[in-house]
């Protein structure tokens, strides 16, 4: 039996590397995110209700909805969890011990930066995971494709921040501000075998639409193309640069500017932003549905 949803939300951290990295984005996209943790606290914040009986009713309905596997919430959680775990190389606990020590930079030398191709696959698989998880959580709302796109692009709060983190940590830092253009042309030149050898893809491939790897590559390419404009706008609207992001991160991670590829690999290993903000999105949607259904 998997862990109860109320425990998962209660155990979200209020500090640590993931939260620090996400907070560093506040300088890039200000005021978009509160680190909302705790199940009852999320119910109170989302609904604005204070009556304990009502909170109990909302919580009970949310737990019931989560526990019904047919509702897709458990699959979405699995996706967020897996896409983060699969892209990391080492346990973060071992690495966290090194932070702040003189040997940290020495330790970085032992991490191999990912080649651009692997980094591009990571980015696009995470992007597709977001689309699939969105559908697991929200269904396909509305009556038309336009409705669906409106729902997807009206991202706010932690969902928006997850996408900003994707663009910054998995796009701009390893590949540069023109990552979308670079990434798309790289994906278009890929074979299914390139995907098959990638850890992140292997982790979530069962839930990516397509009957075989070749069709899945097609779906990934289409999703990348469809969201490319949105990602480019995020970069230009907020003046996001590789240098600016690194400056923000160096407030808590010691890194030299010629080691950006190592920084990306390090973030990959230690920062579980998909899981953290994914659980927050999941909790919010569950609670929004629960309060409407009781």
């Amino acid at each position: 039996m998997s862990k109860p949803i109320f425990k998962i939300v209660d155990e979200l951290p209020t500090g640590g590397l993931t939260v620090m990295a996400l907070k560093s984005l506040d300088k890039v996209v200000p005021g978009k995110w509160d680190n909302l943790v705790g199940f009852d606290n999320t119910i109170r914040t989302v609904t604005g209700e204070t009556d304990e009986d009502l909170i109990q009713q909302i919580g009970e309905r949310a737990v019931t909805l989560f526990n019904d596997k047919s509702q897709g919430y458990q699959r979405a959680l699995w996706l967020y969890e897996t896409v983060d775990n699969a892209s990391g190389l080492l346990g973060s606990a071992a690495l966290a011990n090194r932070i702040g020590q003189d040997t940290f930079l020495g330790f970085l030398k032992n991490i191999s930066p990912k080649p651009e191709k692997a980094q591009t696959i990571d980015l696009s698989v995470k992007l597709v995971t977001e689309v699939v998880a969105f559908c697991q959580i929200n269904g396909i709302p509305g009556d038309s494709l336009g409705d669906f796109i409106a729902a997807l692009t009206s991202y706010s709060g932690e969902s928006f921040l997850r996408m900003a983190a994707l663009v910054c940590f998995d796009g701009v830092i390893p590949l540069g501000a023109d990552f979308a253009l670079k990434g798309l042309s790289m994906i278009k030149g890929m074979n299914p075998s390139d995907l098959e050898g990638n850890q992140t893809f292997k982790g979530v491939k069962d839930l990516i639409p397509g009957n075989n790897t070749s069709e899945q590559l097609g779906f990934i390419t289409e999703s990348f193309e469809a969201t490319q404009g949105w990602m480019n706008n995020l970069v230009s609207d907020n003046n996001i640069t590789q240098q600016g992001l690194v400056n923000n991160l160096t407030s808590f991670i010691e890194v030299s500017k010629d080691k950006l590829d190592y920084l990306a690999a390090f973030l990959d290993m230690t920062v579980k932003y998909y899981y953290h903000t994914g659980v927050q999105t999941l909790a919010r949607r569950l609670i929004e549905r629960a309060v409407a259904e009781i």
């Binding site: 109320f6 425990k7 526990n67 269904g139 709302p141 706010s156 549905r289 259904e293 009781i294």
Partner: protein, 189 residues
């Protein structure tokens, strides 16, 4: 004389520490009961296979107007929800749900004393107002910002096509005889 032995003391100390840590890890939660009831074999699903498709609710929702933008948010079996945004800020949520999945939701309308659009209405908590259509479909408006008041909630409930929703095939016996069915359409005389 009583002899003091450290090794003898260490074992009970470790054991009690272990018990203490276990006790910490297993703190009871107010949701333990529902967790137990909704997991494992024989658990009742959250959504009945007989419930209405969420997509059949879409056409009864109000459309964007007067600077308020209505955006689709969720659609699952027995449930559809839209966000209401003003100036890019979420101010309210609109939802239709099939109470076949959560019968206690329909029960609360037994104590209803008012009607909206001809259907029994209730306030729930500080931020929600709802009506029950045909004793089965709950239509709810939830404030997400203080600027969206109870009056606004009532106004938006009236914007739903409640009569259209009442025309959906699925009927259940009303939970109480005071529950109103779809009001008859006034004759055009």
């Amino acid at each position: 004389m009583l002899k003091f032995s450290w090794p003898k003391l260490v074992i009970p100390l470790c054991l009690s520490l272990l018990l203490f840590l276990n006790a910490c890890a297993e703190q009871p939660s107010r949701y333990d009961q529902v967790q137990k009831e909704t997991t494992g074999k024989g658990a009742t699903p959250a959504v009945s296979k007989d419930s209405e498709q969420g997509s059949s609710f879409n056409k009864f929702f109000p459309k964007s107007s007067d600077g308020f933008k209505v955006i689709p948010a969720q659609e699952k079996k027995g449930f559809a929800e839209y966000k209401v945004d003003k100036d890019g800020k979420n101010v309210a949520m609109l939802a239709i749900s099939d109470t076949i999945n959560n019968p206690s939701a329909a029960e609360k309308f037994k104590s209803s004393t008012t009607k909206i659009g001809g259907f029994p209405a209730v306030d729930q908590g500080a931020n929600a107002t709802a009506v029950l259509v045909n004793g089965r479909y709950q239509v709810k408006v939830l404030s997400r910002d203080p600027s969206f008041t109870r009056d606004d909630r009532i106004k938006w409930l009236e914007k739903f096509d409640l009569r259209g929703l009442a025309g959906l095939q699925a009927f259940l016996p009303p939970v109480d005889s005071t529950i109103a069915y779809a009001p008859s359409i006034p004759s055009l005389v």
